[in-house]
């Protein structure tokens, strides 16, 4: 068309893919740089870090925070915040420890897990319903429900304790190889069998659990229309509504998913500690927010994701390990955690020094 050809249009030259990726995800990249830096420090302090038991315990220590962080991420992306993550973890932990029977019966374990997940999901759903239909600020809604869920946890488990079947704990916290029959790969395995034996002997069950959860729950959600909508409403709720996005459904689903993931965190914490308590989840509320930000998700919503959150959670949980091997007083742990968070967030903001139009720093 002649007119289109004469009507010249300013074109943006296509950015090289790698550069575009780096620009879009630089905050996540920073989270991984910090994770690898802390890993390097850990390895330099302890030459036996790469042994199956140490890797497994490191992964296990991170797992509750990873789930809590992923739960928080889903809500933060919508532009909201979930202050009840920690309370749902406590409630799940208390509920599990209160309902496990004094037996290794498989059916009992399945029923408890199902019950806990249903209750946690309901708790998230209630948060979402109040935020959407009560038209209240998420911060105040979840502050109130956090109190309620903590109260329920206290009712279920006034004193710490309870019985947790060791079958259940082992299933979530040991290495895969430890749960398989010893004769599976033969007495003295060679070739392929030997490879699989050493592999299963190294992989923590918790890591398998995490991968399953991400494959079955997070990725289908993120890649669905609903997942896209969750990002959309975090960008601009009014514009999303005008574009035909079901804002209410997207918001409710984000809070509900957060509840489910917090429930999984609580179940894992139960396996890890093999007991229950009404305040065991308390620290995870603020820590989950910290790892969301550290992982590059904007508290204003609309951008970011769980890749950074997972890296940030592992990085944060490496700090006690480093302090232990460096023979630093463990009471200094909060100090160092705070320092790492501050450093990471500053690194993310350092791009401001490269911005040449000062208005861009305020947009």
């Amino acid at each position: 068309m002649a007119a289109t050809q004469t009507a010249r249009m300013q074109t943006t030259p296509a950015m090289p893919r790698l550069r575009r990726f780096a620009l879009r995800h630089y905050r996540v990249i920073i989270a991984y740089v910090i994770l690898f830096a802390l890993l390097a420090i850990t390895i330099s302090l302890n030459d036996r870090f790469f042994t199956p038991p140490v890797i497994t315990s490191t992964v296990n220590q991170s797992m509750t925070l990873i789930f809590a962080g992923v739960a928080q991420t889903t809500v933060v992306i919508t532009g909201g915040i979930d202050l009840s993550v920690g309370s749902i973890i406590s409630m799940s932990n208390s509920l599990a420890s209160a309902t496990f029977l004094d037996t290794d019966n498989t059916l009992n374990i399945i029923l408890v897990v199902a019950l806990v997940l249903v209750v946690a999901t309901l708790a998230g759903l209630i948060n979402g319903l109040i935020v959407v239909y009560g038209r209240l600020q998420p911060i105040i809604v979840t502050l109130a429900t956090a109190s309620i869920y903590s109260g329920i946890a206290l009712y279920l488990r006034p004193r710490p304790g309870g019985y947790v079947p060791s079958v259940y704990a082992d299933l979530l916290t040991k290495r895969a190889g430890q749960l398989l029959p010893e004769t599976l790969f033969g007495e003295n395995p060679v070739g392929i069998s030997a490879f699989f034996e050493s592999l299963t002997n190294t992989i923590p069950m918790s890591l398998i659990l995490l991968i399953i959860v991400l494959l079955v729950i997070w990725i289908p959600f993120r890649r669905s229309q609903l997942g896209m909508w969750v990002y959309a409403i975090g960008n601009n709720e009014a514009a999303s509504y005008m574009s035909g996005v079901n804002v209410k459904l997207a918001k409710i689903s984000a809070y509900t998913l957060s509840g489910l993931l917090a429930g999984l965190a609580g179940l894992f914490l139960t396996a890890q500690t093999q007991s229950g308590g009404a305040d065991t989840g308390a620290i995870f509320t603020l820590q989950s927010i910290a790892v969301v930000v550290l992982g590059g998700t904007s508290l204003f919503g609309g951008s970011g994701g769980i890749a950074g959150t997972v890296a940030a959670a592992v990085a944060l949980r490496l700090i006690p390990t480093i302090l232990f091997f460096a023979r630093i007083n463990p009471l200094q742990q909060p100090l160092w955690e705070g320092a790492v968070i501050l450093l990471a967030v500053s690194a993310g903001a350092s791009r401001i020094f490269m911005v040449r139009n000062r208005l861009d720093t305020m947009r």
């Binding site: 950015m15 669905s224 609903l226 005008m242 911005v355 040449r356 208005l359």
Partner: protein, 515 residues
Amino acid sequence: MADKPPILEALGVNKRFGNTIALKDATFVCQPGSIHALVGENGAGKSTLIKIVAGVVSADSGMIKIDGNVSTVTSPSQAAQQGILPVFQELSLLPELTIAENIFISNAPQNRLGIINRKRLKQSAEALFADLGLDQIDPTSLVKEIPLAQRQLVEIAKAVSHDPKVLILDEGTSALAVQDVKIVFEFIRRMRDQGRSVIFISHRMSEVEEIADMLTIFRDGEDVGSFPMGSISHEEMVQLMIGRKLEQVFPPKPAPGKPRTPILEVENLSWEPTLHSISLSVGKGEIVGLGGLDGQGQAELLFALFGVLRGVHGTVRIHGQEVNIKTPSAATNKSNRIALIPEDRKTEGLILPMSVGDNSIMAIIDRLINHFGLVNNQKERSTIQQMIEQMQVKVSSPRTPVRSLSGGNQQKVVIGKWLLTDAQIYLLHDPTRGIDVGTKQEIYQLIRNLADKETGILFFSTELSELVGLCDRVLVLYEGRIFRELTGSDINETNIVAAALGLQQTKQPVTPQEI
């Protein structure tokens, strides 16, 4: 052939917002296959009517018919299903999502498990862009990565993707420069030729005259007449819109006389890679226009002079004295006295939830302070009152939040706020964007009055008629350089457009015979 029913009818529609009557028994009828312009001043009810038709707000009374059937649309998505697709003044794109995601946000291609098919998503967007002649836009870019003009085109493409029967462009071209408007017009016409209808709302009368088949004029919430385009004159149109005769739109220019004393001089100013050795001067009492295609560095030049940008090289002199302005507060201080009236009144010009009064004294609050370091109430009140009167801001009380004012009145507050600073150099960044003719005329007069007070004015506009009508001199920028300087009778639309496109000046004027 039997007459087809109108594709869209709004019959006797009434709507009130609190005490304000937005629509009073308004009627609007749009035929299939026509481009129907809807014009009127800010607050005439055009946007409200569109919002009702599109299911965003509901009417208090009256009837909407689509294709002859009474409509029961109550949400934007229902309206979209009926083929009514609005593109609103405020951009509705989501900056952190890709262009393809934005376009198909409510109908992305999915597999049986509900997972979005990314490849098909991208292909659908590419096919749509190819169809619209926009193949230079990469659908995998994030919206925040592309310039404003492209975003507007994406916005329109998004509406078109829903296969509209009626496409509504509410100020859909206000952010676009001439060459992009052409692209939009190109596909508006193609849509009409396919038998669809387009409702076109714009304050740019030249665009309305160029594109529309039908014209409906609104004033104070009522429709005051519908006409086939060309059946009424420009003057009659404007008169119906503002309800009175519009005298001269632009104030008379002073006769070009002796050279003026420069108030602002710029030498070899560069901000790589956008601005390249720009030299210019603005004289006392002079209005110097900045023209050119969108994104040739006009906005950056204003920002550079105002100290917003880092890494600017070159010399700037005020009254012959070399100055080194590194921050906006240095630009506005007592010795430099520069004011920048920004483009986006909603984000850079005003603090929307704060009152008209607070907004207007924001830049001069330090001058209203008494011995105790507190704001002198009496001085504050009289200053605000003076601004409201001078600018003729239509507001019941200075305590009204600025958010509740119409666009034109908001812009008056922005300008008034900077007038109070008593600056000697004004940098204007498209000050009449999205404002109705009546208010525009007032603002033009104001700018001229300012110049007459021996100030220097650098005026960046995306509207050709303003550059021609208001400016004493026009500098046309092309790829970050001053490409041409136009003075006196050389300031006309043809010359500006030619220079904006980077065309060298023809030595010999083209005679009619040669064409």
